[in-house]
Amino acid sequence: MQEDWTAVNDIVVTVFGALVLAGALLTVVERDPYRKLISLGIMIGGAIPFIVDRGLLDVAIAVALIAPLSTLFILMVCRKGEQ
């Protein structure tokens, strides 16, 4: 049990894990849809290095191309006056 937590010392896991948690927390806290989408961008930027760190590069390419598509779909409902 003790040696499992030595992986936390790894800089990639620490920094990008903090990025994922901060992005998710900001997405929940914000009230404006545009600001929520920008915070979601922080979370996605933290999550993709985990996929690369595992060595699944094809999955990383596919996910990095598909993730902005969902944002574009969501932006179709965000209208201008709603701020």
């Binding site: 499992d4 992986a7 936390v8 896991v13 894990g17 994922v20 948690l21 998710a24 997405t27 929940v28 806290v29 009230r31 849809p33 929520k36 989408l37 979601l40 979370m43 996605i44 999550a47 985990f50 996929i51 595992r54 699944l56 094809d58 999955v59 596919a62 996910v63 598909i66 993730a67 598509l69 969902s70 779909f73 969501i74 179709m76 409902v77 965000c78």
Partner: protein, 79 residues
């Protein structure tokens, strides 16, 4: 218990609660909060090295977002 597993569990549980009770209670906020458990599930699948499941899930989640958007647009148009 690698870091992806713990991170995925936290995102899955927290995101589910957040999308069940969004702060301004609109469909759009619910849909944006629904992205958080989707990425949590993706990290959870990543901790088991399931490449094919990850690819399929990535495609299907974008498709389901599009379907939800069409549903929201229909509901707003009808009143």
């Amino acid at each position: 218990m690698n870091p992806e597993f713990i991170l995925g569990l936290v995102l899955l549980l927290g995101g589910t609660i957040a999308s069940a009770f969004p702060v301004p209670r609109t469909y759009l906020n619910r849909l944006i909060n629904l992205e958080i458990p989707a990425w949590g599930l993706l990290l959870l699948m990543l901790s088991y090295n399931e490449a094919l499941a990850l690819l399929t899930f990535g495609g299907v989640s974008a498709l389901s977002v599009y379907i939800f958007i069409r549903v929201i647009q229909k509901k707003e148009a009808s009143g």
